[in-house]
Structures are given as structure tokens and as C-alpha cells.
């Protein structure tokens, strides 16, 4: 929606939409720095070390030699982590725009990954482009079915999606666990290890940068999905209806929009994004899934945080997923110089900063309220009875 006329209210809202997440992030790092200082370390050098650990210093031309090689490896790692995060965040964001809270990203991720695993461990002689496409289509379908179940339950039975998606997470986790457990249908050729075989080489995503655990082409798919996400929401009739239902189901119904259809669609599409994340991880670098993987997966949940920080917009999710990926790789033990800051502390620091960001973004209402009553600044909203009646 581009045009010549921009009224100040809209502009103000957009500016605030950027300012609050930025302020929340800055504040979180500030508080994190204080904690670092309290442990007797220098916060600035700790942050510098974490920054270097993300590999973002690769962008600086003066970083040369072996340092540059290490930076490249770190940055590849960061982008690999960022890729599924974008998608699980979209899975949360899309449902959120329809007025629903999709906690089921994790389960949708696992069923998507497993669908890709089934396709990837069959059809050995298939050409790569076809094999990968097929695996991804399978994962998108599986993810959307998994999300769609929650949608159908909500639309027909009124079951709240928070409850059903959490339940579906556990169903997915135990289902996939059973599949790859000893003697499970997808357990691999190694008889004593509860893990699947690797997918065939023809089903692996091509690498585009680096050698060891190199960056795979999945990031392009995720970026393309981000464009799809944006267009779907803002340019299509489907997105229009989803947003209408999200803001006001009653008015949407009165206007002839089927609310239940949109609930189902929105959760199915959410599931498709999360399912795609699963296949990209599998075909990009995991290649197989072990029973123990199911115990540690948190991508779906971090996706909630990313969507929240990114305000459910495509651009917001892009930057928020980069930030969260950086926090993860920057504090990883192998990337951090233990002399500057102990990695075990760094990991906790990352978790803490993530939590603080969410807290501060969530506290936006509170901050605004304080700003309003303290400094009498009135943001462009005229809804509450406490404010003036708009001049006719």
C-alpha cells in the first residue's frame, strides 16, 4: 500500500512499531551488561566477544586472515540457525494476525521434518531438484494438516487453539520418537541406535557458502517464504479476510466472511511455514533425526519470541530472527573466547537477554501508560473515553 497521502496517525503508529522493539532490545542488552559487570567481567569486551562469535565481523573488510575464515564459519552457522527461526516465527505471526496464538510451531516443525525424512529416505535415483521439492511439498502438507487440526477443532468445537496446539506438540513429539526408536518404522540401518538413516544425497539441499557445515540454500527458501508471508497477508483477499477476522470476528461474520473457514486456513498456513522449517533443517544440515533430538527442540517456541519482537511483520521477523540467531551462535561455547567471558555464563546471558526482550516488548502497554501520565504525551489514539471526543 504505497501512496502519496500518509496521515500522521499512521506514520506515528509505524514509527512506534519500530521504536518499541528497538528500545526493548537496547534495554535488554543494557540490563544484561549490568549482570555481566556484576560477575566481574567487562560488559563491553563480553559483548564484543559475542558479536565476534556471531561472525558478523566478517562484514568488516579489516578482518583478515584466519580471523576472517573463522568469522565466515561463524556467520554461516548464524544464518543456518536463523533460517528455521524465520519460518517458525511466521507460523506464529500468521496465526496471530488471525487473532490466534499458535503454540504448536514445534509439533508442526517435527511432523514437517518427518514427512521430508520419509521422502528423503526413499526414491534414491531421483534428480535433486525434484527430490528436494517433493520432500518440501510433503513437509508443507504435513505441517498444514497438523496446524489445520487445531483450526478444525477451534472452528467446529470451539476448542481453544492454545490448548490444542500444545497437545498436538506432544502428540507429534512422541509420534516421531516412536518412529525413530529402536525397531520403529523409520529407525535406520544401525540396529542399536535410535535414529533414522540419513536422507539420500539427492534430497540434500545444495550448499552455497563454506565447506564444513556450510550454509545451505535453505535460507533462500526461507527468505522467499517471508515474501510470500508478506504478500499473502497484505495483498491477497485471503490475507485480508484473515486480518479482518483477527481484529474483529463479529464484524467479519456480519460482512459475510466465514470465520471458521479462516480459522482453519490460518492455522493450516501457519503449520505449513513451521513444517517447511522442519524440512529445511533436515535437508540442509541435519539429514537424519535421532530420538534424543526430540527432547531438545525449542525452535517452535523461540519462534514465538521472534514473532513477538518482530511484530508479526515480514521485515520485523527478518531482523528479530537474525538477532535471536546471533544470540545463540555468539554465545556458543566453540565461538567464544573463554578468556574474555566464560561460555557457560554466556549461554545463560543469551537466554536472559532473550527473556528480557520479551518482557520489555510485552511491557509496552505499561511503558506507554507511564509516558502518557508522566509527560502528557498522547500517541495517536483516540479510543478510550478518557480522551477527547474527536472534533466533528
Amino acid at each position: 500500500m504505497s501512496g502519496a497521502t500518509v496521515d500522521p496517525g499512521r506514520f506515528g503508529r509505524r514509527a512506534r512499531g519500530v521504536a518499541v522493539p528497538l528500545a526493548a532490545t537496547a534495554l535488554a542488552f543494557l540490563v544484561g551488561g549490568l549482570v555481566v559487570a556484576a560477575t566481574g567481567h567487562n560488559p563491553l569486551s563480553a559483548y564484543k566477544a559475542i558479536f565476534d562469535g556471531t561472525g558478523l565481523n566478517w562484514l568488516f573488510p579489516w578482518v583478515q586472515g584466519s580471523e576472517r575464515l573463522a568469522a565466515a564459519r561463524d556467520l554461516q552457522q548464524t544464518l543456518i540457525v536463523m533460517t528455521p527461526l524465520m519460518l517458525t516465527a511466521m507460523a506464529v505471526g500468521f496465526a496471530f494476525r488471525a487473532g490466534m496464538f499458535n503454540i504448536g510451531g514445534q509439533g508442526q516443525y517435527w511432523v514437517g521434518l518427518t514427512a521430508a525424512l520419509v521422502v528423503g529416505t526413499h526414491f534414491e535415483s531421483m534428480p535433486t531438484w525434484l527430490h528436494v521439492t517433493l520432500a518440501m511439498v510433503a513437509s508443507v502438507a504435513a505441517g498444514s494438516v497438523w496446524g489445520g487440526i487445531a483450526g478444525v477443532l477451534k472452528a467446529t468445537r470451539g476448542a481453544h487453539e492454545v490448548i490444542t496446539t500444545i497437545m498436538l506438540n506432544w502428540i507429534a513429539i512422541y509420534l516421531v520418537k516412536w518412529l525413530v526408536e529402536l525397531k520403529g518404522p523409520l529407525q535406520g540401518s544401525e540396529p542399536s541406535i535410535p535414529r533414522s538413516d540419513d536422507v539420500f544425497d539427492s534430497a540434500k539441499l545444495p550448499t552455497i557458502w563454506g565447506t564444513l557445515q556450510a550454509l545451505h540454500a535453505g535460507i533462500f527458501i526461507a527468505l522467499a517464504a517471508l515474501v510470500v508471508y508478506h504478500l499473502l497477508l497484505n495483498r491477497t483477499t485471503l490475507g485480508f479476510e484473515v486480518r479482518a477476522v483477527g481484529f474483529n470476528p463479529e464484524a467479519s461474520r456480519t460482512a459475510g466472511i466465514s470465520v471458521s473457514r479462516n480459522y482453519i486456513l490460518a492455522l493450516a498456513i501457519s503449520g505449513a511455514f513451521a513444517g517447511l522449517a522442519g524440512s529445511i533443517d533436515l535437508l540442509g544440515w541435519k539429514y537424519h533425526v535421532a530420538s534424543s533430538d526430540l527432547d531438545v527442540g525449542t525452535l517452535g517456541f523461540i519462534g514465538i519470541a521472534v514473532a513477538l519482537l518482530g511484530r508479526n511483520t515480514a521485515v520485523g521477523i527478518l531482523f528479530a530472527s537474525l538477532l535471536f540467531a546471533c544470540l545463540q551462535t555468539g554465545t556458543a561455547a566453540r565461538n567464544l573466547d573463554p578468556a574474555v567471558f566464560p561460555p557457560e555464563l554466556a549461554n545463560n546471558l543469551a537466554t536472559m537477554i532473550q527473556a528480557l526482550i520479551i518482557l520489555f516488548v510485552g511491557a509496552e502497554v505499561l511503558i506507554l501508560y507511564a509516558a502518557r501520565s508522566g509527560r502528557r504525551i498522547l500517541p495517536g489514539r483516540r479510543r478510550e473515553a478518557a480522551e477527547p471526543e474527536a472534533p466533528a
Binding site: 496521515d7 491477497t236 464484524a251 467479519s252 473515553a385 474527536a390
Partner: protein, 507 residues
């Protein structure tokens, strides 16, 4: 300094950014007096009362009680100085009982627990003392709107209010309930309570107030005794020009029947009849008015026609086509336009822009979209055109609907429904809560649409509105259509049918 008033606001000025909501406003209130605060939507009434109640801080001016300056920084301060306010939207907790709601915040305790018996006793006391009958043990969610309002008033009195601010208290009431409220107000003033009564309805002010203060564009234009004032005089003061109280309407012979209901019934989950055997016909080029006291099946009738509620028996046809089981979408396509009773919840998506709200029906059809893609350029132009045509002020296509005043919001709804070129237009409470100018606009528009040959079903609790607009009047009572009148029926006859049903209509 002159004699001290019980309460005085002196030189209140309040700005919101560029907007001057109140400019140098003076207001006085005596003990036991009812002051009617009159003004159009946006005249600054609510702002002024928010200042008095501590919800807004004035940029200039002071508040005095019996000559002493008060510092009111918050509603808590206001309550402490004996000022209570009943908002348009009630602030009650639905799942708690009447007594619990009233004592909340200053509840009698036994140990750490609420002393229920004591609370009940105090509420009963209070209710008797002020003659406000309530059932202390009823849950708020189970009682009617008028009862809830009474609870709100008692809540303020419980906290020792000597000045009671009522913000458009009759907006949610039926005419009978409004009369009850006026009686209540009179009995309150006898016991020394002062009341500030905010409204934009002229007759109410004349009914209940001792003195009237008129605000226009944030300034006091006049303060005069209610006795001897005429509606014409007040309306001139309010809007600064003569308002057309009568709608100009030429007689017109209606065409063929567009909408027909045959013995339509609606039953709720418990099997109670909300609408029983309703039969009616709306012809092209006529306005059929549905009169009745709120809650006598009007909402159910409208919802049945619009497709929002399942019909349990009977048949609905539009241009001869059976739409009894048709989806809402289908009904819209066949030509039913619906201006819903509740514009903020049903009529508009408040977080959407005006353009998005205007396209809400037709978004899935060309030219608003093609192959599932929204054509925003066309939508924006279309919206801009309609906003001009329907005289929507205060924003453009990209303004959020929530940022408009009530009257302009309603114009957006009207614009959407009328521009869809419907065969049949349902207008449910189309002017509720609007100011005089907006009411006039909506009325004129409805008559124009009638003259274009649309069939119009108008539901309203305002008899004047029905009488001014309708070509035929149907009266609803306890879910049934009990009588039909011509537009020349007197208020008295209509009123009897509305309150007594068939018996009243026959009388």
C-alpha cells in the same frame, strides 16, 4: 468574590495536541441541583467531566468546592472529595454479585475475607435510603442494563458521592427506563446530591435538569434555567443554527414486495421463543419502521433477516427467492444491506483503515480484487470517492476507523452498505449515539435511498425517528409483531401497543 458555590470549575482549558477540547470553561453547581450539560458529539462535554473526575489534567483553570481549591489528580482524589461518575460504558465485573460490585474496593471484612452478610446489609440500606431498588445477590451478568446502571449509581453513592456525573445515561435505556432514571435523579437531589447530566438529547434536559449549560466547540455558549427553555432554543444554542427536526419526505407509492417474512420464529438455546411467527413485507420504495421497547425481539428479527441467526421456523424470501437458509455471504450478494445495531462491534473493524472497512463486503469480487489479489489502488480511489460522497470527516482512506468520531464511523458503515446498491436495506438503530448533524444526515440519506426504490427496514427505539421516517410502522412486543400503524399514529397509540401488546393496540 461572589458567594461560594457548592462546586465550581473556573477557566478550564484543555488541549490535546492541536485540538482545543475546552477553552476557558466556567461551570457552577449548587447542592441538590441537576445541571444538564448539553452539546453535540465533540463539543467537549466528556473532556470537561474527565477533568472534574481526575481522568484528565487541565492545562489551565481550577476546581473549587465551597470556595476552596481542590486538587484532583486522579479518580481516587475525585471520589475522596465526593465526586462520583457513571460512565457510558459500565465498569462492573459481570461474574460478581450486585453487592460485591458496589462494595468493591471498600468492602466490609471479617478477617481477611469479605463479609458477605454485612455487604448485603449495607447495600440494602443504601438502596432503601435512595430509593434505588436492586437485588444485591443477583449477578451483574444476569441483570438488565437499567439495573446495571442503578448498580453504578449505588457504587458512587456508597463511596460518598455528593456530586454524581452521569455520562449520557439514557443512551442505553428504553424510554420507560429513562423515566425511571429521571425519577431516581429527582429523589437523589431531594437528599442533597447534585447531579451533572451529560446528554445531547434536548427533551431529556428539559425533563430533568434545573439548569442547562450548553457547550459548543469546547466553549460555554450559554447557561440558562431549564424552566422556560424550548427545544428549538436549545438546539439553536447547541449547533448554532436551526435544526430540521422534521425530515422532509414526499409521499411515494411503493412498488412490489422485496422482502417477505412468513411466520418466522427464532428460539434460543433453552427453547425460549425470541421471535414468534413474525410475518411482514417490505416493498420497494418504502420505509417500514419497527417500533418497540428494547429487547422485544427486534434484534432477533434483524439477525434472522441478515443471516446472523438461525431461524427455527418460517420462511424468508427476497424478491421471491427463498433465503431462509442462505449464508450471510449469499444474502449480501442477493442484495441485503445491513447497518448493524452495534457499529463498533459488528459494523466496523476498528483497527482497519476506512478503505479496508469500505471494501469489507466486496473485497473478494472484481474490481476490488482479481484472482485473489487485492487491488489496493482501485480500493483507495473508490474509498476516497465514497468518503467525499458520504461526507465523512476527520480522516481519509488510510485513517483507522477507531480514530473517527461516532457519527463519522456510522457514515462509513452507511457508505459501505448503500454503495453496494442493495435491494433491501436494514437499518438497526442507525442514529444511536450520534449528534444532531449526523442524525440529520443519516435520516436524509435513508429517505433518499427509499426514493431510489430501495426497500428499507428501520428499527429504532426512538419513536420520533420512526414517525418521521417510516411509511408504515410495525410494533413489536414480546417477540411478536402486534400492530401496524400509519406514519400519522400518535405517540400515545404507539406507546400503548409497545407496552401492552395486542391489548394496547386494540384500545
Amino acid at each position: 468574590m461572589s458567594a461560594d458555590h457548592f462546586l465550581e470549575l473556573r477557566g478550564i482549558t484543555k488541549r490535546y495536541g492541536e485540538v482545543l477540547a475546552n477553552r476557558d470553561v466556567d461551570l457552577t453547581l449548587e447542592r441538590g441541583e441537576v445541571l444538564g450539560l448539553l452539546g453535540e458529539n465533540g463539543a467537549g462535554k466528556s473532556t470537561l467531566m474527565n477533568v472534574l473526575y481526575g481522568l484528565a489534567q487541565p492545562d489551565e483553570g481550577e476546581i473549587l468546592r465551597e470556595g476552596r481549591t481542590l486538587r484532583i489528580r486522579s479518580p481516587r482524589d475525585a471520589i475522596a472529595t465526593g465526586i462520583g461518575m457513571v460512565h457510558q460504558h459500565f465498569m462492573l465485573i459481570p461474574v460478581m454479585t450486585v453487592a460485591e460490585n458496589i462494595v468493591l474496593g471498600e468492602e466490609p471484612r471479617s478477617g481477611p475475607m469479605l463479609d458477605r452478610d454485612e455487604a448485603m446489609r449495607r447495600v440494602e440500606d443504601l438502596s432503601q435510603r435512595f430509593g434505588l431498588a436492586v437485588r444485591p445477590d443477583a449477578r451483574v451478568e444476569d441483570i438488565g442494563v437499567a439495573q446495571q446502571q442503578r448498580v453504578e449509581i449505588l457504587k458512587a453513592l456508597y463511596r460518598g458521592a455528593q456530586v454524581l456525573i452521569l455520562d449520557e445515561p439514557t443512551a442505553v435505556l428504553t424510554p420507560q427506563e429513562a423515566q425511571d432514571l429521571f425519577r431516581t435523579i429527582r429523589s437523589l437531589t431531594e437528599s442533597g446530591t447534585s447531579v451533572i447530566f451529560i446528554t445531547h438529547k434536548l427533551n431529556e434536559v428539559l425533563d430533568v435538569a434545573d439548569r442547562v449549560e450548553v457547550l459548543r466547540r469546547g466553549e460555554v455558549v450559554s447557561s440558562l434555567p431549564a424552566k422556560g427553555a424550548t427545544p428549538q432554543e436549545l438546539s439553536r444554542l447547541m449547533v448554532g443554527r436551526d435544526v430540521l427536526l422534521e425530515v422532509e419526505k414526499q409521499p411515494r407509492s411503493p412498488g412490489e414486495a422485496v422482502l417477505r417474512l412468513e411466520d418466522v420464529s427464532v428460539t434460543d438455546e433453552r427453547g425460549v421463543d425470541l421471535l414468534s411467527d413474525a410475518s411482514l413485507e417490505v416493498r420497494a420504495g418504502e420505509i417500514v419502521g419497527i417500533a418497540g421497547v428494547d429487547g422485544n425481539g427486534q434484534s432477533e428479527l434483524v439477525e434472522a433477516i441478515a443471516g446472523l441467526r438461525r431461524v427455527t421456523a418460517g420462511r424468508i424470501t427476497l424478491d421471491g427467492r427463498d433465503i431462509t437458509r442462505a449464508s450471510i455471504r449469499r444474502r449480501i450478494e442477493l442484495g441485503i444491506g445491513h447497518i448493524p445495531e452495534d457499529r463498533q462491534h459488528r459494523g466496523l473493524v476498528l483497527d482497519f483503515t476506512l478503505a479496508e472497512n469500505i471494501v469489507l463486503h466486496d473485497h473478494a469480487e472484481a474490481p476490488a480484487s482479481r484472482f485473489g489479489w487485492m487491488r489496493w489502488r482501485w480500493i483507495m480511489n473508490h474509498a476516497a470517492k465514497l468518503l467525499t460522497e458520504f461526507d465523512v470527516r476527520g480522516g481519509g482512506p488510510r485513517t483507522r476507523a477507531a480514530d473517527l468520531s461516532g457519527g463519522n464511523q456510522q457514515k462509513v458503515v452507511v457508505a459501505r452498505e448503500v454503495s453496494g446498491d442493495p435491494r433491501m436495506l436494514i437499518a438497526a438503530q442507525p442514529t444511536r449515539g450520534l449528534d444532531v448533524g449526523a442524525i440529520e444526515y443519516v435520516h436524509r440519506r435513508l429517505v433518499e435511498e427509499r426514493d431510489r426504490g430501495r426497500a428499507i427496514l428501520l428499527v429504532s427505539f426512538e419513536l420520533e425517528e420512526i414517525r418521521a421516517l417510516a411509511d408504515r410502522i410495525l410494533v413489536m412486543f414480546e417477540g411478536r409483531i402486534v400492530a401496524e400503524f400509519g406514519p400519522d399514529a400518535t405517540n400515545e397509540r404507539l406507546g400503548l401497543a409497545m407496552t401492552l401488546g395486542e391489548a394496547g393496540a386494540a384500545a
